[in-house]
């Protein structure tokens, strides 16, 4: 009897794992061909936030793919800012996030917002990867060196050295108004970000 029970456990656990893995879902665009590195389900969140809604957004300056430098505080008094951290170039969900933001520029503009895309990858990697996305209207910033310094400041650096899939909405005064440290395995629905942006813009 114990042997049989053991078998039931093995089958049960195997099926449980199978159903867990089936929860990771994404659609890879043909634009990336076979170049997307497949990853397994990851721990949904693997960091501890160091900022909160209502607090001043830590300032930073990062190099962009367009070969200039972008400082968060340069938008102070001018624009709301959305920071979109994604974990890594050439991975499944990340490759299907910014291209969507790229076709709703008008939504960001209507809400007086700029979008800053950030990863911990270096510039050449980001250059090659974002080139597959078409011409992006927003800056892509590299938080590569000192490694993930900005992700660390915000508390969205995972223990394996990549950032969370996280969204921050910062108002014109530089105050954080919305934080979504999303399950790294899933793309945040656009409507949640747009609702947060509209709320900030109405203030």
């Amino acid at each position: 009897m114990p042997k049989k029970i053991g078998l039931y456990w093995i089958v049960t656990i195997a099926l449980l794992f199978a159903s867990l893995f089936s929860d990771m879902a994404y659609a890879t665009s043909d634009a990336f061909k076979e170049n997307i590195y497949q990853v397994k389900m990851l721990k949904p969140v693997d960091s501890k936030l160091k900022v909160k809604v209502g607090s001043q957004a830590p300032d930073f300056t990062l190099p962009s793919v367009a070969r200039d430098k972008v400082t968060l505080s340069q938008y102070r008094g001018k624009k709301n800012v959305v920071l979109s951290f994604v974990p890594a170039a050439w991975t499944p969900v990340c490759s299907d996030q910014w291209p969507g933001y790229n076709i709703v520029k008008d939504t960001f503009e209507q809400n007086n917002a700029i979008l800053l895309g950030i990863t911990v990858d270096n510039i050449p990697t980001l250059f090659a990867w974002t080139n597959q996305m078409g011409k992006l209207w927003f800056p892509i910033l590299s938080d590569f060196w000192p490694h993930a310094a900005v992700a660390k400041k915000y508390g969205v650096l995972r223990t394996d050295g990549v950032s969370e899939r996280a969204l921050f909405v910062i108002d014109k005064k530089g105050i954080i108004r919305y934080i979504d440290v999303h399950d790294i395995n899933k793309r945040p629905p656009l409507e949640d970000l747009v609702a947060a942006l509209e709320k900030v813009n109405q203030r």
Binding site: L16, S22, A27, D30, L190
Partner: protein, 191 residues
Amino acid sequence: MKKAKGFFLSFTFVLFVATALSATASKAPEKGETLPVFNLPIPKSSAEKAYLGLSGDGLFKIPQIKAKVVIVEIYSMYCPYCQKDAPGINELYRLIDKNPDLKTKIKIIGIGAGNTQFEVDAFKKTYQVPFPLFPDKDFSIHKACGEVRTPYFIVVKNNEDGSHQIVHAQMGGFPGAQPFLDLVLKASGLK
């Protein structure tokens, strides 16, 4: 012990069913096959209902669309190639729409893999898509279709007897409206 055995058996069975239901097809739908089984919501818009020849509320299956041929595009608002192809697919719709002989015979729909209704609406608005688009928020249709890369085109021929068959399928590589229409006409035997 019997109780424990019963519990394990039931638990295993439930998990098996749950896994089977969320199962990912091992391959994409291909020519000569039938479509994977899935339902779509009947559109609320009366214009879209009329376009598809559907009425009422609830769900429908693609072969219920009143047309000889249905072109299905599995796309995503987050997919650069789907964005690039969008004007060309709109042109395909117009080519069909302005041809009185084809207008009632060929219909186009899009299924947004992993896209919410809001995201489908955003894509529709950005590209002024004139045909119905459906959300596949939880990727269930995308999974049933073997998690194809997007865009993926499936041309379905509805037969007189109610059966249907995939007469053409391709990943990406949209060749432009007229060449694609020629391909659809040839594959479906409409020409």
